[in-house]
Assembly symmetry: C2
Homo-oligomer: 189 residues x 2
Protein backbone atom coordinates (compact mmCIF):
# COMPACT_ATOMS: atom_id res chain seq x y z
CA UNK A 1 0.00 0.00 0.00
CA UNK A 2 1.41 3.33 -1.03
CA UNK A 3 1.17 5.93 1.66
CA UNK A 4 -0.30 9.10 0.26
CA UNK A 5 0.89 12.04 2.27
CA UNK A 6 -0.90 15.36 2.54
CA UNK A 7 1.75 17.03 0.48
CA UNK A 8 1.56 14.41 -2.22
CA UNK A 9 -2.17 14.77 -2.65
CA UNK A 10 -1.87 18.54 -2.50
CA UNK A 11 0.45 18.26 -5.47
CA UNK A 12 -1.89 15.89 -7.30
CA UNK A 13 -4.93 18.07 -6.69
CA UNK A 14 -3.21 21.23 -7.76
CA UNK A 15 -1.71 19.54 -10.78
CA UNK A 16 -5.11 18.28 -11.88
CA UNK A 17 -6.59 21.74 -11.70
CA UNK A 18 -3.74 23.43 -13.54
CA UNK A 19 -3.15 20.74 -16.16
CA UNK A 20 -6.79 20.97 -17.19
CA UNK A 21 -6.83 24.73 -17.14
CA UNK A 22 -3.61 25.34 -19.03
CA UNK A 23 -2.96 22.08 -20.80
CA UNK A 24 -0.19 19.64 -20.04
CA UNK A 25 2.54 21.68 -21.63
CA UNK A 26 1.59 25.10 -20.45
CA UNK A 27 1.75 24.04 -16.87
CA UNK A 28 5.28 24.39 -15.50
CA UNK A 29 6.28 22.29 -12.54
CA UNK A 30 7.22 25.53 -10.82
CA UNK A 31 3.63 26.72 -11.06
CA UNK A 32 2.25 23.48 -9.68
CA UNK A 33 4.69 23.79 -6.81
CA UNK A 34 3.77 27.40 -6.15
CA UNK A 35 0.03 26.81 -6.21
CA UNK A 36 0.35 23.71 -4.08
CA UNK A 37 2.37 25.67 -1.57
CA UNK A 38 5.48 23.52 -1.84
CA UNK A 39 8.90 23.92 -3.34
CA UNK A 40 9.69 22.87 -6.86
CA UNK A 41 12.20 20.31 -5.71
CA UNK A 42 9.89 18.35 -3.46
CA UNK A 43 7.74 17.21 -6.34
CA UNK A 44 10.67 15.07 -7.38
CA UNK A 45 10.65 13.45 -4.01
CA UNK A 46 7.18 12.07 -4.68
CA UNK A 47 7.26 11.69 -8.44
CA UNK A 48 10.00 10.61 -10.77
CA UNK A 49 9.21 13.22 -13.37
CA UNK A 50 6.43 15.35 -14.76
CA UNK A 51 5.36 12.45 -16.93
CA UNK A 52 5.21 10.19 -13.91
CA UNK A 53 3.05 12.71 -12.10
CA UNK A 54 0.63 12.79 -15.00
CA UNK A 55 0.51 9.01 -15.25
CA UNK A 56 -0.19 8.63 -11.55
CA UNK A 57 -2.93 11.21 -11.76
CA UNK A 58 -4.50 9.24 -14.55
CA UNK A 59 -4.47 6.00 -12.62
CA UNK A 60 -5.89 7.61 -9.52
CA UNK A 61 -8.81 9.00 -11.51
CA UNK A 62 -9.45 5.75 -13.34
CA UNK A 63 -9.74 3.87 -10.06
CA UNK A 64 -12.11 6.42 -8.56
CA UNK A 65 -14.23 6.28 -11.70
CA UNK A 66 -14.53 2.49 -11.65
CA UNK A 67 -15.67 2.62 -8.05
CA UNK A 68 -18.30 5.22 -8.83
CA UNK A 69 -19.79 3.37 -11.78
CA UNK A 70 -20.46 0.27 -9.72
CA UNK A 71 -22.06 1.80 -6.64
CA UNK A 72 -24.46 0.20 -4.16
CA UNK A 73 -27.46 1.04 -6.29
CA UNK A 74 -25.99 -0.62 -9.35
CA UNK A 75 -24.85 -3.66 -7.37
CA UNK A 76 -28.45 -4.63 -6.76
CA UNK A 77 -29.52 -4.49 -10.38
CA UNK A 78 -28.97 -6.74 -13.35
CA UNK A 79 -29.57 -6.88 -17.06
CA UNK A 80 -30.52 -3.74 -18.89
CA UNK A 81 -31.43 -1.97 -15.67
CA UNK A 82 -27.84 -2.41 -14.51
CA UNK A 83 -26.48 -1.00 -17.75
CA UNK A 84 -28.82 1.94 -17.48
CA UNK A 85 -27.72 2.64 -13.92
CA UNK A 86 -24.04 2.42 -14.84
CA UNK A 87 -24.68 4.85 -17.66
CA UNK A 88 -26.41 7.33 -15.35
CA UNK A 89 -23.65 6.93 -12.78
CA UNK A 90 -21.05 7.62 -15.42
CA UNK A 91 -22.79 10.74 -16.60
CA UNK A 92 -23.29 11.97 -13.04
CA UNK A 93 -19.64 11.40 -12.23
CA UNK A 94 -18.40 13.18 -15.32
CA UNK A 95 -20.58 16.21 -14.72
CA UNK A 96 -19.77 16.36 -11.03
CA UNK A 97 -16.03 16.06 -11.70
CA UNK A 98 -15.25 18.28 -14.66
CA UNK A 99 -11.54 18.44 -14.01
CA UNK A 100 -11.21 14.68 -13.82
CA UNK A 101 -13.27 14.29 -16.97
CA UNK A 102 -11.37 16.81 -19.03
CA UNK A 103 -8.11 15.40 -17.76
CA UNK A 104 -9.07 11.88 -18.85
CA UNK A 105 -9.93 13.09 -22.31
CA UNK A 106 -6.81 15.15 -22.71
CA UNK A 107 -4.71 12.25 -21.49
CA UNK A 108 -6.33 9.72 -23.79
CA UNK A 109 -5.79 11.98 -26.77
CA UNK A 110 -2.16 12.67 -26.00
CA UNK A 111 0.94 10.64 -26.71
CA UNK A 112 0.93 9.69 -23.03
CA UNK A 113 -1.79 7.18 -23.55
CA UNK A 114 -0.73 3.69 -24.43
CA UNK A 115 -3.65 1.58 -25.53
CA UNK A 116 -2.30 -1.56 -23.92
CA UNK A 117 -2.68 -0.01 -20.46
CA UNK A 118 -5.81 -1.98 -19.56
CA UNK A 119 -7.40 -1.17 -16.22
CA UNK A 120 -5.59 -3.45 -13.84
CA UNK A 121 -7.24 -2.39 -10.59
CA UNK A 122 -9.67 -4.74 -8.88
CA UNK A 123 -12.73 -2.54 -9.20
CA UNK A 124 -12.09 -2.12 -12.89
CA UNK A 125 -11.97 -5.86 -13.38
CA UNK A 126 -15.06 -6.40 -11.25
CA UNK A 127 -16.84 -3.78 -13.32
CA UNK A 128 -15.90 -5.50 -16.57
CA UNK A 129 -17.18 -8.81 -15.30
CA UNK A 130 -20.43 -7.27 -14.09
CA UNK A 131 -21.03 -5.64 -17.43
CA UNK A 132 -20.33 -8.81 -19.38
CA UNK A 133 -22.76 -10.57 -17.10
CA UNK A 134 -25.42 -7.94 -17.71
CA UNK A 135 -24.97 -8.37 -21.43
CA UNK A 136 -25.62 -12.09 -21.35
CA UNK A 137 -28.65 -11.58 -19.10
CA UNK A 138 -30.25 -8.83 -21.11
CA UNK A 139 -31.05 -9.09 -24.79
CA UNK A 140 -28.19 -7.05 -26.11
CA UNK A 141 -27.21 -6.79 -29.72
CA UNK A 142 -24.18 -8.94 -30.48
CA UNK A 143 -21.31 -6.54 -30.83
CA UNK A 144 -17.80 -6.44 -29.37
CA UNK A 145 -17.76 -5.12 -25.82
CA UNK A 146 -15.69 -2.14 -26.85
CA UNK A 147 -18.23 -1.16 -29.48
CA UNK A 148 -20.97 -1.32 -26.87
CA UNK A 149 -18.84 0.90 -24.72
CA UNK A 150 -18.67 3.56 -27.44
CA UNK A 151 -22.43 3.35 -27.96
CA UNK A 152 -23.10 3.90 -24.27
CA UNK A 153 -20.44 5.25 -21.92
CA UNK A 154 -18.68 7.03 -24.75
CA UNK A 155 -21.84 9.00 -25.36
CA UNK A 156 -22.11 9.83 -21.66
CA UNK A 157 -18.60 11.24 -21.72
CA UNK A 158 -19.23 13.29 -24.85
CA UNK A 159 -22.41 14.78 -23.42
CA UNK A 160 -20.81 15.51 -20.11
CA UNK A 161 -18.03 17.39 -21.85
CA UNK A 162 -20.59 19.57 -23.56
CA UNK A 163 -22.39 20.16 -20.32
CA UNK A 164 -19.11 21.10 -18.68
CA UNK A 165 -18.38 23.51 -21.51
CA UNK A 166 -21.82 25.04 -20.93
CA UNK A 167 -22.83 24.20 -24.49
CA UNK A 168 -25.84 22.27 -23.31
CA UNK A 169 -27.86 22.04 -20.13
CA UNK A 170 -29.73 18.79 -19.65
CA UNK A 171 -32.68 18.64 -17.33
CA UNK A 172 -33.56 15.31 -15.78
CA UNK A 173 -36.34 14.51 -18.25
CA UNK A 174 -34.00 14.99 -21.19
CA UNK A 175 -31.35 12.92 -19.51
CA UNK A 176 -33.78 10.06 -19.05
CA UNK A 177 -34.74 10.35 -22.70
CA UNK A 178 -31.11 10.07 -23.69
CA UNK A 179 -30.62 7.10 -21.40
CA UNK A 180 -33.58 5.50 -23.15
CA UNK A 181 -32.03 6.20 -26.52
CA UNK A 182 -28.72 4.71 -25.44
CA UNK A 183 -30.35 1.58 -24.07
CA UNK A 184 -32.48 1.27 -27.19
CA UNK A 185 -29.43 1.31 -29.39
CA UNK A 186 -27.85 -1.71 -27.74
CA UNK A 187 -31.00 -3.75 -27.13
CA UNK A 188 -32.11 -6.42 -29.56
CA UNK A 189 -35.15 -5.41 -31.58
Amino acid sequence: MIKVTDKQSAILNTALKLLVKNGFHNTPMSLIAKEAGVSAGIIYHYFESKDDLIHQLYHEIEVKLSQTLLDQKAEQLEGIALLRQIWLNAYAYYVAHPNETLFLEQYKNSPFYKHWEGSSDETGLLLSRKIEQAITEAKIVELPLIVLYSLTLGVAMALAKQQIAKIIELDDATLQKIADAVCRSVQLV
Copy 2:
Protein backbone atom coordinates in the same frame (compact mmCIF):
# COMPACT_ATOMS: atom_id res chain seq x y z
CA MET B 1 -9.06 33.40 -52.12
CA ILE B 2 -5.82 32.47 -50.42
CA LYS B 3 -3.28 31.00 -52.77
CA VAL B 4 -1.87 27.82 -51.32
CA THR B 5 1.64 27.31 -52.58
CA ASP B 6 3.40 23.98 -52.82
CA LYS B 7 5.66 24.88 -49.97
CA GLN B 8 2.79 25.91 -47.79
CA SER B 9 0.96 22.64 -48.25
CA ALA B 10 4.19 20.72 -47.82
CA ILE B 11 4.48 22.37 -44.44
CA LEU B 12 0.86 21.62 -43.57
CA ASN B 13 1.11 17.98 -44.61
CA THR B 14 4.32 17.40 -42.73
CA ALA B 15 3.02 19.22 -39.69
CA LEU B 16 -0.11 17.08 -39.62
CA LYS B 17 1.91 13.88 -39.69
CA LEU B 18 4.35 14.99 -37.00
CA LEU B 19 1.86 16.69 -34.71
CA VAL B 20 -0.19 13.51 -34.58
CA LYS B 21 2.82 11.29 -34.14
CA ASN B 22 4.57 13.28 -31.43
CA GLY B 23 1.86 15.48 -30.02
CA PHE B 24 1.56 19.23 -30.39
CA HIS B 25 4.28 20.05 -27.92
CA ASN B 26 6.83 17.44 -28.80
CA THR B 27 6.96 18.63 -32.35
CA PRO B 28 9.48 21.45 -32.74
CA MET B 29 9.08 23.81 -35.63
CA SER B 30 12.62 22.92 -36.59
CA LEU B 31 11.58 19.30 -37.09
CA ILE B 32 8.58 20.25 -39.20
CA ALA B 33 10.88 22.39 -41.33
CA LYS B 34 13.45 19.64 -41.69
CA GLU B 35 10.94 16.94 -42.64
CA ALA B 36 9.16 19.28 -45.02
CA GLY B 37 12.46 20.07 -46.69
CA VAL B 38 12.36 23.78 -45.97
CA SER B 39 14.17 26.11 -43.64
CA ALA B 40 12.86 26.95 -40.20
CA GLY B 41 12.42 30.59 -41.02
CA ILE B 42 10.17 30.15 -44.03
CA ILE B 43 7.37 28.72 -41.93
CA TYR B 44 6.96 32.20 -40.48
CA HIS B 45 6.49 33.54 -43.95
CA TYR B 46 3.35 31.47 -44.37
CA PHE B 47 2.15 31.29 -40.80
CA GLU B 48 2.20 33.83 -38.02
CA SER B 49 3.20 31.35 -35.38
CA LYS B 50 3.07 27.72 -34.42
CA ASP B 51 -0.38 28.26 -32.99
CA ASP B 52 -1.53 29.83 -36.23
CA LEU B 53 -0.22 26.84 -38.15
CA ILE B 54 -2.19 24.49 -35.95
CA HIS B 55 -5.36 26.56 -36.23
CA GLN B 56 -5.11 26.69 -40.02
CA LEU B 57 -4.57 22.95 -40.15
CA TYR B 58 -7.70 22.48 -38.11
CA HIS B 59 -9.81 24.63 -40.38
CA GLU B 60 -8.51 22.92 -43.49
CA ILE B 61 -9.48 19.53 -42.10
CA GLU B 62 -12.89 20.69 -40.93
CA VAL B 63 -13.74 21.94 -44.39
CA LYS B 64 -12.60 18.73 -46.08
CA LEU B 65 -14.63 16.72 -43.60
CA SER B 66 -17.83 18.68 -44.20
CA GLN B 67 -17.46 18.13 -47.91
CA THR B 68 -17.00 14.41 -47.46
CA LEU B 69 -20.02 13.94 -45.23
CA LEU B 70 -22.36 15.46 -47.78
CA ASP B 71 -21.25 13.66 -50.92
CA GLN B 72 -23.23 12.96 -54.08
CA LYS B 73 -24.71 9.79 -52.64
CA ALA B 74 -25.99 11.58 -49.55
CA GLU B 75 -27.33 14.50 -51.58
CA GLN B 76 -29.94 12.25 -53.16
CA LEU B 77 -31.27 10.87 -49.90
CA GLU B 78 -33.50 12.25 -47.22
CA GLY B 79 -34.84 11.39 -43.80
CA ILE B 80 -33.28 8.58 -41.87
CA ALA B 81 -31.57 7.21 -44.98
CA LEU B 82 -29.69 10.50 -45.26
CA LEU B 83 -28.62 10.36 -41.66
CA ARG B 84 -27.46 6.80 -42.09
CA GLN B 85 -25.43 7.73 -45.16
CA ILE B 86 -23.84 10.68 -43.43
CA TRP B 87 -22.93 8.41 -40.55
CA LEU B 88 -21.32 5.86 -42.88
CA ASN B 89 -19.51 8.64 -44.73
CA ALA B 90 -18.16 9.99 -41.48
CA TYR B 91 -16.91 6.63 -40.37
CA ALA B 92 -15.34 5.95 -43.74
CA TYR B 93 -13.59 9.32 -43.72
CA TYR B 94 -12.25 8.90 -40.23
CA VAL B 95 -10.85 5.45 -40.95
CA ALA B 96 -9.39 6.50 -44.27
CA HIS B 97 -7.77 9.59 -42.74
CA PRO B 98 -6.28 8.55 -39.44
CA ASN B 99 -3.98 11.54 -39.14
CA GLU B 100 -6.78 14.01 -39.72
CA THR B 101 -8.98 12.19 -37.25
CA LEU B 102 -6.44 11.99 -34.48
CA PHE B 103 -5.52 15.60 -35.09
CA LEU B 104 -9.11 16.73 -34.73
CA GLU B 105 -9.46 14.91 -31.46
CA GLN B 106 -6.20 16.17 -30.05
CA TYR B 107 -7.11 19.70 -31.09
CA LYS B 108 -10.58 19.57 -29.60
CA ASN B 109 -9.21 18.33 -26.31
CA SER B 110 -6.50 20.93 -26.08
CA PRO B 111 -6.61 24.52 -24.89
CA PHE B 112 -6.48 25.52 -28.57
CA TYR B 113 -10.10 24.73 -29.03
CA LYS B 114 -12.56 27.49 -28.38
CA HIS B 115 -16.09 26.25 -28.30
CA TRP B 116 -17.54 29.31 -29.92
CA GLU B 117 -15.62 28.60 -33.16
CA GLY B 118 -18.66 27.33 -35.07
CA SER B 119 -18.02 26.00 -38.56
CA SER B 120 -18.28 29.06 -40.73
CA ASP B 121 -17.54 27.53 -44.12
CA GLU B 122 -20.34 27.15 -46.63
CA THR B 123 -20.31 23.38 -46.79
CA GLY B 124 -20.51 23.18 -43.03
CA LEU B 125 -23.57 25.39 -42.99
CA LEU B 126 -25.17 23.48 -45.84
CA LEU B 127 -24.54 20.28 -43.96
CA SER B 128 -26.18 21.61 -40.82
CA ARG B 129 -29.25 22.68 -42.76
CA LYS B 130 -29.49 19.31 -44.51
CA ILE B 131 -29.30 17.47 -41.23
CA GLU B 132 -31.93 19.62 -39.59
CA GLN B 133 -34.13 19.00 -42.58
CA ALA B 134 -33.59 15.24 -42.31
CA ILE B 135 -34.58 15.40 -38.69
CA THR B 136 -37.91 17.05 -39.39
CA GLU B 137 -38.61 14.61 -42.22
CA ALA B 138 -37.76 11.46 -40.32
CA LYS B 139 -39.29 10.55 -37.02
CA ILE B 140 -36.43 11.48 -34.80
CA VAL B 141 -36.56 11.66 -31.04
CA GLU B 142 -36.82 15.24 -29.84
CA LEU B 143 -33.43 16.10 -28.51
CA PRO B 144 -31.08 19.04 -29.04
CA LEU B 145 -29.12 18.76 -32.28
CA ILE B 146 -25.88 18.56 -30.41
CA VAL B 147 -27.10 15.60 -28.39
CA LEU B 148 -28.09 13.82 -31.57
CA TYR B 149 -24.61 14.52 -32.83
CA SER B 150 -23.07 12.75 -29.86
CA LEU B 151 -25.39 9.80 -30.30
CA THR B 152 -24.43 9.41 -33.93
CA LEU B 153 -21.33 11.05 -35.37
CA GLY B 154 -19.63 11.06 -32.00
CA VAL B 155 -19.92 7.30 -31.94
CA ALA B 156 -18.50 7.08 -35.44
CA MET B 157 -15.47 9.06 -34.36
CA ALA B 158 -14.94 6.96 -31.25
CA LEU B 159 -15.13 3.71 -33.20
CA ALA B 160 -12.85 4.99 -35.90
CA LYS B 161 -10.26 5.92 -33.32
CA GLN B 162 -10.32 2.38 -32.01
CA GLN B 163 -10.02 1.00 -35.49
CA ILE B 164 -7.09 3.30 -36.16
CA ALA B 165 -5.44 2.11 -32.95
CA LYS B 166 -5.95 -1.46 -34.14
CA ILE B 167 -8.05 -2.23 -31.08
CA ILE B 168 -10.94 -3.38 -33.21
CA GLU B 169 -11.46 -4.48 -36.77
CA LEU B 170 -14.98 -4.00 -38.09
CA ASP B 171 -16.14 -6.03 -41.07
CA ASP B 172 -18.92 -4.59 -43.18
CA ALA B 173 -21.68 -6.67 -41.59
CA THR B 174 -20.72 -5.45 -38.14
CA LEU B 175 -20.54 -1.88 -39.37
CA GLN B 176 -24.05 -2.12 -40.77
CA LYS B 177 -25.21 -3.52 -37.45
CA ILE B 178 -23.70 -0.56 -35.66
CA ALA B 179 -25.25 1.86 -38.12
CA ASP B 180 -28.59 0.19 -37.35
CA ALA B 181 -28.01 0.61 -33.65
CA VAL B 182 -27.12 4.26 -34.08
CA CYS B 183 -30.21 4.97 -36.19
CA ARG B 184 -32.36 3.05 -33.75
CA SER B 185 -31.20 5.19 -30.88
CA VAL B 186 -32.37 8.43 -32.47
CA GLN B 187 -35.58 7.17 -34.09
CA LEU B 188 -38.91 7.54 -32.34
CA VAL B 189 -40.25 4.26 -31.00
